[in-house]
Amino acid sequence: MAIPRFWREIPSRYNLIGTECGNCGKRYFPPRIICPQCHRKSFGKMKNVRFTGSGEIVTYSVIHNAPKAFEMQVPYIIAIIEFEEGVRATGQIIDCEVEDVKIGMKVSPAFRKIGEDGKSGVIYYGYKFKPA
């Protein structure tokens, strides 16, 4: 990942900062600059919102054939989480055995290492989810 991109995304990756449209009130995560429903009416009206990250698993998948950076973690769980504020995010489920994960399971956010640019590159941190 390019360093500027990661740096720009730090607020949402570390602290689950999303946006809310000042026109229609719809919330987004990751953040959006323009509301896809209100278009130009949302210009300058998108407000930052901090989500709790607590919610439940909508659906999940167990990864056995992983990208190189995640080979050490297989099998691992990737899930779509619906936050209690209504928005959804994709993330890894940790501190949970593959046989224990269930749709509807309550989860809370955790701060973890997401990846790194090799041994000499930048380390990327962000959110994952663990059983609540």
Partner: protein, 350 residues
């Protein structure tokens, strides 16, 4: 001005390994190692955990227990001997992750196992001088022992964060003092993956001399004796040293029991006495008096005379965030999994 702990949080990774698993790989008697070191298991960080993630988890628990505005945090110091970056502070990432940036000072500390308590002293000084409202002091480590070395049976992972302030103090720091000398008992040279140590030399002239002198100096200055304290927490590189030093100083097993965690989670280095203090605060009552003495190789000791206040009753100390809950939530792993998680396996192209 009354300076002390406003809130605290501890974090211990979920994975554990038993000394027998390690001993079997190196052809050593597991029972003898377990008994000799006073260790039943040690914590192992997950593949996505490091000093920074542990520090953030601990700091977030501390913040969730009290109602302080993160913008009032004026300093963050992260003490560790296993910072993920050689150059780039862990403290800036922690500060960002708890929403304390940008109006604060942040830095990393390194002093073997006592870097976290050095952070408490700095924060207490800044709060006491009126320079800042709150300071966050963190001790966090994912320590490594060389494969087959005695340290491999104890070096573990964990950390704790203490919010230091002067309002709504749950535990007042009555006094802190230190004892420092140049003692080469344990070190890791720049670029080296694993630390080296002076074997038996790490005992008498290092651990025992510094802790006994530092605790003695503090009690002399405070005009206290061991029986004045309800709890004592000593640095715990293994399960035996803290028991022995407590006895030498005149403390009972009952006084050190609550804060002695190394037998089940191993030596969390910078996190060791701080997680021990967190475990004591989990059960402490108002007016309880605590003596905490850290030791860091190289070498030095920091001692703290602490009195718990009525405010502790208002802090949420229950649930999944207590040290006992963290210890209960565990999963044992094999040496192979441990080696994989700790990056001891060389991958093609890595």
């Amino acid at each position: 001005m009354e300076v002390g702990i406003v809130s605290y949080g501890a974090y211990v990774p979920r994975y554990r390994i038993k000394p027998h698993e390690i001993a079997a790989v190196w052809g050593v008697d597991g029972d003898a190692m377990s008994k000799g070191l006073g260790i039943q298991s040690k914590s192992v960080p997950g593949p996505d955990e490091d000093v920074i993630t542990i520090a953030v988890e601990a700091a977030r628990i501390a913040l969730s227990r009290c109602k302080i505005d993160t913008k009032d945090i004026g300093s963050i110091y992260v003490g560790s001997e296993s910072h993920p970056y050689a150059v780039k502070p862990s403290a800036t990432i922690v500060a960002e992750a708890i929403g304390a940036t940008p109006d604060l000072t942040a830095a990393d500390y390194e002093f073997a196992c006592k870097a976290g308590t050095a952070a408490i002293q700095t924060c207490a000084g800044l709060v006491g001088s009126g320079s800042i409202k709150y300071g966050v002091a963190i001790g966090s480590d994912t320590s490594q022992g060389a494969p087959g070395d005695a340290l491999e049976y104890t070096a573990s992972a964990g950390g704790a964060a203490f919010i230091i302030g002067s309002e709504n103090v749950i535990a007042k720091i009555n006094r802190t003092c230190s004892y420092t000398t140049d003692t080469p008992d344990f070190w890791r040279r720049e670029g080296e993956k694993y630390p080296s140590h002076g074997g038996r030399f790490t005992g008498e002239p290092a651990y025992f001399k510094h802790i006994i002198s530092c605790a003695g100096n503090l009690m002399k200055k405070q005009d206290t004796k061991p029986s004045d304290y309800n709890y004592a927490v000593f640095h715990q590189p293994n399960g035996k040293f803290p028991v022995s030093v407590a006895k030498k100083l005149g403390f009972t097993k009952e006084q050190i029991k609550e804060g002695l965690l190394t037998p089940v989670i191993g030596n969390t280095y910078s996190g060791a006495v701080m997680i021990g203090l967190a475990a004591v605060l989990d059960v402490a009552k108002p007016e309880d008096r605590i003596l905490m003495v850290a030791y860091g190789s190289g070498a030095g000791s920091d001692s703290f005379d602490i009195t718990v206040t009525d405010e502790i009753e208002k802090l949420n100390r229950n649930g999944t965030q207590s040290v006992s809950a963290l210890i209960k939530n565990h999963k044992f792993v094999s040496y192979a999994t441990y080696a994989k998680y700790m990056g001891k396996i060389h991958l093609r192209g890595a």
